[in-house]
Amino acid sequence: MSQALLSVDNLSVDFSTYGQTHHVLKNVSLDVPARSQIALVGESGSGKTVTMKAIMGLLRQPPATIAGGRIFYDGRDLLTLPDKERLKLRGTAMSMVFQDPMSSLNPVFTIADQMTTILKYADRRLDRQRNGRDRLARVHEVLTQVRMRDPERVARSYPIMLSGGMRQRVLIAMALLSEPKLLIADEPGTALDVTTQAQILKLLKDLVEARGLALLMITHNLGVVRETSSYVYVMNKGQVVEHRPTAELFAAPREDYTKALIAAVPRLTGGTRFGTAEVAP
C-alpha cells in the first residue's frame, strides 16, 4: 500500500447543507502506483470530483469535513501535513489538468504571462533560483512537449486567439511546468469536439508514457477509461464499487452497478436496443 505514489486510504467526507449532514464519500480507498495510468469513473454525484478535490486539497471546509481516512503521497499523509508543506506539493509534485479550456485561462493575460507566473510561484515555494529568461525558456519547452508547432507564437497569444484544442494543450503544458510525478486530469477534452478530444487523449497518453508520469484520469466516460487507463476504480454514491484492470472490467464486470453502467453505453457497432419492450407499438 505504501509503495504507491498516491494512496487514498479509507477516506470519508461529509457535507453539511441546510443543517443536514450528507456522507458524500464513504471509505474510499485507491492506489496510484508510480508510472501507472489509473481511471476513476463515475456518474454525476458519485463522489469522483470530491475525491479529486480532497487529494488536491481543494475542498472547501466548511461545508465539507473530512470525517476519516488518510491520503498518502510518496509516503507522507497529506491530511496531517502542515499547510506550507502541502502547498509545496500542489502544482509541483502533483498537478492538475483542468476540464474547461475556456474558463480555466484568464482572458486578459497572454499564455506566457500566465505560465511564467505559475512557474515563479512554484520556484518560490521550492526555493529554486531561476530568472525570467529561464522561466520563459521553460514555458517554450513545455509548449513544445504538448506538440505546439510554434511555441513562441502561442506563448505571445491571448487565450481568445487560440482554438479550444490549443487551449486544452496549454492547460496540459501548465500542469507539466514543474515536472510533476503525478498528473490528475479532470475530464480533459469533454468540452471539446470528438475529433479534438481524441487528439488530446492521445497526447496525454503519449506524454505520460514517454515521461514516466503517473496519471489519475477522472471521467464519466467509459470510452475514455478504456482509451487511457490500465486500471480502473468505479464509483457510485460515494463508494468504490469495483476496481480491476481495465481490460478485465470491460470483459467481465462483476458488480451489478458496473454491468448496468456498461450496458447503458451505446455501441458503435449497433445492437444497443432502446425503448421498453412492454409498450405496444
Partner: protein
C-alpha cells in the same frame, strides 16, 4: 441485471425553508431586516409610542428649551422646548414616505423601460437608452435644487425632482439583465413554443429580474432617504414645523456644540435608517447570489 435508479432527484426541501435557512444564517441580512422592520413599525405607530405626540406641531414651551437627554426627554429638547425623540420618530414617517413615493414611481417606470429596451433592441433600445444616459448625467440633488428654485421648496416638488431622475438606474439595471437573459435558451424555447412577446417579457424575463430588483430597491431606499435629508438640510425640502430628520439636523446645528443632541441625534436616526436598508440590500444580494450559482 439491476436497473440503475433512473434519476436520483435531489432531496426535496421547501423553497421557503431553504430561503429562511440561508437568510437566518446571514447576519447582515438579519440585522438589516430587523432595523428596517423596527423603523417601519415605529413610523406607523408613532402617535401611540411617542411620549409627546402634540410636539409634532408648532408647540412652544420655553421653559423646556435646550434640555439635554434625560428620562423625561430621551433625546433632549429643541430651541422651542419640543421633545426631539418624538419629532425624530415622526420624522421617520416623512423619510419613508419619500422613499416609497420616489421608488414607487421610479421602479415600475425603470423596469418597464429596461425590459422594452433590452428585449426589442433596435430603435426602441436607442431611444430609451439615450434618454436614460442623458438623465443619468444630471445629479438628483442638483435637479432637486433647480426644481425647488423654479417652483417652491416643498416636499412634493423635491419628491418629483428625485423621482424624475431615479428611474434611470433601474432602467440600466433591468436593461443589462434583460440583454443577458434574452439570449438564453429558455427564451428561445418559449419562442419556439409559440409564446407571445408579452408573455416572454412579463412571465419569462421579469421573474429573473426580481432578485436584482429587490437588492437595488433596498439599497436605493437608503440613498433616497439620504438625498431627501440633504434637501431638507439645505432648506429645500420639508418646511417647519413638520418634523423631518434633515430639517432637524439643520436647525439644531445652530446650537452646536452646546446643545449637540439637537442635531446629532436626528442625524444618528438618518444614519441608522440608511444603514438598515443598506445592510438589508447587501444581505439580500448575498442571499440571491447563492441561489443564482446553485
Amino acid at each position: 441485471m439491476t436497473e440503475i435508479p433512473a434519476d436520483n432527484s435531489p432531496r426535496r426541501l421547501s423553497n421557503a425553508y431553504q430561503n429562511w435557512y440561508r437568510f437566518s444564517r446571514n447576519p447582515t441580512a438579519v440585522i438589516g431586516a430587523a432595523i428596517v422592520v423596527i423603523v417601519i413599525l415605529a413610523a406607523i405607530l408613532a402617535p401611540w409610542i411617542t411620549p409627546y405626540p402634540e410636539h409634532v406641531g408648532a408647540v412652544v414651551n420655553f421653559r423646556a428649551r435646550h434640555l439635554p437627554p434625560s428620562a423625561e426627554y430621551w433625546f433632549g429638547t429643541d430651541n422651542v422646548g419640543r421633545d426631539i425623540f418624538t419629532r425624530t420618530i415622526f420624522g421617520l414617517r416623512i423619510s419613508l414616505l419619500l422613499a416609497l413615493v420616489v421608488l414607487g414611481t421610479a421602479v415600475p417606470v425603470g423596469t418597464v423601460l429596461g425590459l422594452l429596451a433590452g428585449y426589442f433592441g433596435g430603435w426602441v433600445e436607442i431611444v430609451i437608452m439615450r434618454i436614460t444616459d442623458i438623465a443619468l448625467a444630471i445629479p438628483p440633488l442638483v435637479m432637486a435644487l433647480a426644481v425647488a428654485a423654479v417652483l417652491s421648496p416643498d416636499l412634493i416638488n423635491s419628491m418629483l425632482a428625485i423621482a424624475a431622475l431615479w428611474w434611470t438606474w433601474h432602467t440600466r439595471l433591468i436593461y443589462s439583465i434583460t440583454r443577458q437573459i434574452r439570449t438564453q435558451e429558455f427564451i428561445e424555447a418559449a419562442e419556439t413554443l409559440g409564446a407571445s412577446k408579452f408573455h416572454i417579457l412579463i412571465r419569462e424575463i421579469l421573474p429573473n429580474c426580481v432578485s436584482a430588483l429587490a437588492v437595488k430597491t433596498s439599497l436605493d431606499c437608503g440613498f433616497v432617504i439620504l438625498v431627501g435629508a440633504s434637501l431638507s438640510f439645505l432648506g429645500l425640502g420639508i418646511q417647519p414645523p413638520t418634523p423631518d430628520l434633515g430639517t432637524m439636523v439643520a436647525s439644531g446645528s445652530a446650537f452646536l456644540p452646546d446643545s449637540w443632541w439637537e442635531s446629532v441625534l436626528p442625524g444618528c436616526a438618518i444614519l441608522v435608517v440608511a444603514l438598515g436598508f443598506n445592510l438589508l440590500g447587501d444581505g439580500l444580494r448575498d442571499l440571491f447570489d447563492v441561489q443564482e450559482v446553485r
